[in-house]
Amino acid sequence: MATAALLPTIRAISPLREMGAYEALWAEPKASFKSLAERFREFPDRLPSDFVSEHQTAYFTQLVLQMLRESGVMQFGIRVHRAGEYPKKLRDAEDPVELLYYRGWWDLVDTPSVAVVGTRQPSQQAIKNTTRLVRMLVSDGYSIASGLAMGIDTAAHNAAINSGGKTIAVIGTPINQVYPKKNSDLQEMIARDYLLISQVPVFRYSQQTYTRNRTFFPERNKTMSALTEATVIIEAGPTSGTLIQARAALAQNRKLFILDSSFRNPELEWPREFESRGAIRVRTYDDIRKNLSLHVHQNR
């Protein structure tokens, strides 16, 4: 050790290297968010690069950087657990993500935010409800998070933008991919002017079929819930991925709001199920407002 250079830090996180290591971990065939979270639970002081060889880390760093650049993603950011500005609120998730990719304005993560989500095949009324609700949330000072899917998600992002608010897209594809393709422009706009977040590994995604990659969608719902203080479900069928987020919201101690229209639909059992576990039935906007932080603070 006597000849080693005197370095100011014992170790410092290089987000780019951690990205390479995360991608390498995901390149292992059995990797899942659950299996990764288990590894980090077992070794809570470790970083992704502690599980991967120097060589592998360097290889995947370069590979993924190149993949991102080739798809036109020149600027992006990384959040890694244990480095500054990793959102502590993510740790409320059952299997918290160790690393996130983002594009756009990270400061939106620290603004009060509400997730507005729902079915990909909404009724006209549901779209109207989304737009109206988002407008009110925006005027109350909330940023609107959603998942950039068809239907309610798209309506929520658009309503936030059109009413002069801020929006966060937590997507189920890597930051260099879009699903559905129809939302390419919207995704680019969000990445440029707002905030786009993904936990999905770039390399692994490029190696899998669409069917395998679909499993990433519900995972992002758990992250979206953890990043926000509440989730509002506008409309969702009994098998909708939205219900994954509903479950996560309650498990993470987040507020869960379900619009009254879902309760009035005789075919749906889930609204009452969630209500019995703590979800709030929304008859008027005030049912939401009075349960959110900005209202509580104002009236303290």
Binding site: L6, L7, P8, T9, P15, R17, A83, D107, D110
Partner: protein
Amino acid sequence: MFTKIDELHLPDHYHLDGSDACYFIGEYTAGRGFAHSDTNQFIYNLKKSVDRRGLPEYRHKEAAIVQAGRVLRSSLNPEFIRRGTFVPIPPSCAEDDPLYDDRIAEVIRAIAPQIDVRKLIRQVVSTPGAHLVQNRPGPRQLYENYQIDESLAFPTPSAIAIVDDVLTTGAHYKAIQRILQERFPGVPVSGLFLARRVPNTE
């Protein structure tokens, strides 16, 4: 834990390049105010003007200095704390100015009592804070306004860390790095920052 400035951060600090060994703890979001994040609150407290001295609010500044010392101590190499030389980036107001703020040197002293902190860099003329002037000076202009305080140059440092609270463009760091490398050839120079500044959406 420190994060090392890498390629992903460089666009925010355009005077730095990939060869600079710069480290930071948190991210300070410009223009977002005190309450925006823990890091913002911390930096606001630390930068609280010295003309508030004696007022109750001033304890927030003192607490922030202690906290900064603690965070740095737990993130630094203990061997470097013993043997490295810490050079604060000089504040914009000179020592005879009533608004002279010695906070960076105080932060360094809060790391460990015996630490080698040296105010090696002096300004030839006092400058207004970078945020107060229209055209921020580049590394070259800053360099021309800096000189080494020769009374503090001995013994020759074995390694130098330039310390500041917020890394912005990197201009001050580059200017000081240059003057130190000229004066102490071969001595490694790195940069330690409590936060790096990131832009905000507004």
